[in-house]
């Protein structure tokens, strides 16, 4: 074992590593800040929400999205790291998809941003492949026995995004209003989209 094993406060470890890399010219604060800003401001579930809203309102787009998620998502301008190949999983009233990465925390960054804490936690990762119905219920999503559950464990560079059910009572909403309803959790498959 290296002394990487000696426990350090992570904030201090980050500062020490950053300072060593800066001396080598391998890091500069502007680059660090740009990475942070990108995922704090530009890349997040609002991207995926636009994809979902478009699919809900444009049947041809929906067909393209389900046939080739990567390309259809790129139409809206979303691509980049962790989005080399994105497959979209369509929920129906009788079929519910939920996505996990048991081995690390793979996640479709271009459409959903960085994964939330619960997705990266060993509890979700360990349990959703063994007792998904129970896990979803703990999250507040109680599915009927007539709903089939498909769990996807993303273990290659293929990334998965769920196309949730469009909630009833949203027939008159615009695409933009629909996008505002779509939550990150619904695109991972641990929640459904509620009406306005």
């Amino acid at each position: 074992m290296t002394t990487a094993t000696s426990h350090l406060d992570p904030a201090l470890r980050a500062e020490a590593l950053a300072s060593l890399l800066a001396e080598r010219g391998l890091i500069d604060q502007a680059t660090v800040d740009s990475f942070i800003k990108a995922y704090e401001q530009s890349v997040g579930p609002m991207n995926g929400a636009k994809v979902v809203a478009r699919a809900w309102t444009d049947p041809q787009y929906r067909a393209r999205l389900l046939a080739d998620g990567t390309t259809a998502i790129a139409e809206l301008g979303f691509k980049g790291a962790q989005g080399e190949k994105i497959v979209v999983l369509e929920n129906t009233p009788r079929l519910h998809h939920v996505v996990v990465c048991t081995l690390c925390s793979c996640y479709p960054w271009p459409v959903l941003g960085l994964p939330p804490s619960w997705y990266k936690d060993p509890s979700y990762r360990s349990r959703v492949v063994r007792e998904p119905r129970q896990v979803l219920a703990e999250f507040g999503l109680v599915l009927g026995d007539d709903v089939q559950i498909k769990v996807f464990d993303s273990s290659s560079e293929v990334r998965y995004m769920v196309l949730p059910l469009r909630p009833p009572g949203t027939e008159r909403l615009t695409e933009e209003e629909l996008a505002a309803l779509v939550t990150r959790d619904s695109m991972v498959g641990v929640a459904q989209v509620s009406g306005p």
Partner: protein, 219 residues
């Protein structure tokens, strides 16, 4: 590697965390850690698989201390592997930042690993036939690799059906060790929950992407 990272099906982690939509970085150091990881990958050979394998080698007690902690220590391990920093340097620098008058060891000799690349990303065209078709019944081999591997324990020795033919893909088991891209076909394989967890399992199906070398025909 049968490490702490391979948590699928493990029990004892308690309730799931709440569906909290907090900011991406709960504390400033987490953002720094995130960026350090990306920059460490870049500095150490642009090999995401090697970074994943470094995270797998984070000591288990540290691994369980949160995502950006393991991400950060993974970055350090990757940089140590490449001779870009040494663990002694990090400890000494940390001590100095805390005000100790500690001397620091000399920087190590860099030996950044190189691997021939067939291009950006991980998708690759493969010009040999596929071993399996959609609908084929396959079994996950009883693998016991010492190194990086993307077949978790909970599917090994289990039989499922090929649900989709995925892309050709850089083989993580080879690439993570800078041994070459060795591209392999990916398959989405679907398992019945009872095949994984026994007859009392909740009814559901589990689909996971598995590389061709992980699979054999199920008899």
């Amino acid at each position: 590697m049968d490490g702490i990272h391979d948590v699928g099906g493990m029990q004892g982690f308690g309730h799931v965390l709440p569906l909290d939509a907090g900011p991406p970085f709960a504390q400033p150091w987490e953002g720094t850690a995130f960026a350090l990881g990306l920059l460490a990958i870049r500095a150490a050979g642009a090999n995401l698989h090697a970074f994943r394998h470094a995270i797998e080698r984070v000591p288990p007690g540290e691994y369980l201390r949160g995502y950006y902690n393991r991400w950060l220590i993974g970055a350090q391990i990757l940089l140590e592997d490449s001779g870009i920093v040494s663990a002694g340097q990090v400890s000494a620098r940390a001590a100095r930042l805390r005000g100790a008058a500690a001397g620091e060891p000399a920087p190590p000799e860099p030996h950044k690993p190189q691997m021939a690349s067939g291009g950006a990303g991980n998708l690759r065209a493969i010009d040999r036939p596929r071993a399996f078709s959609v609908g084929d019944r396959v079994r996950v081999r009883d693998l016991h690799p010492a190194g990086h591997c993307r077949a978790p324990r909970y599917v090994r020795r289990r039989a499922g059906l090929v649900a989709a033919q995925g892309p050709g893909h850089v083989f993580p088991d080879s690439a993570a060790h800078f041994l070459g891209e060795d591209p392999q076909y990916v398959y989405s394989v679907e398992f019945d929950s009872r095949e994984l967890w026994g007859p009392d399992a909740e009814p559901f199906s589990l689909t996971i992407d598995l590389f061709e070398p992980y699979l054999e025909p199920a008899t």
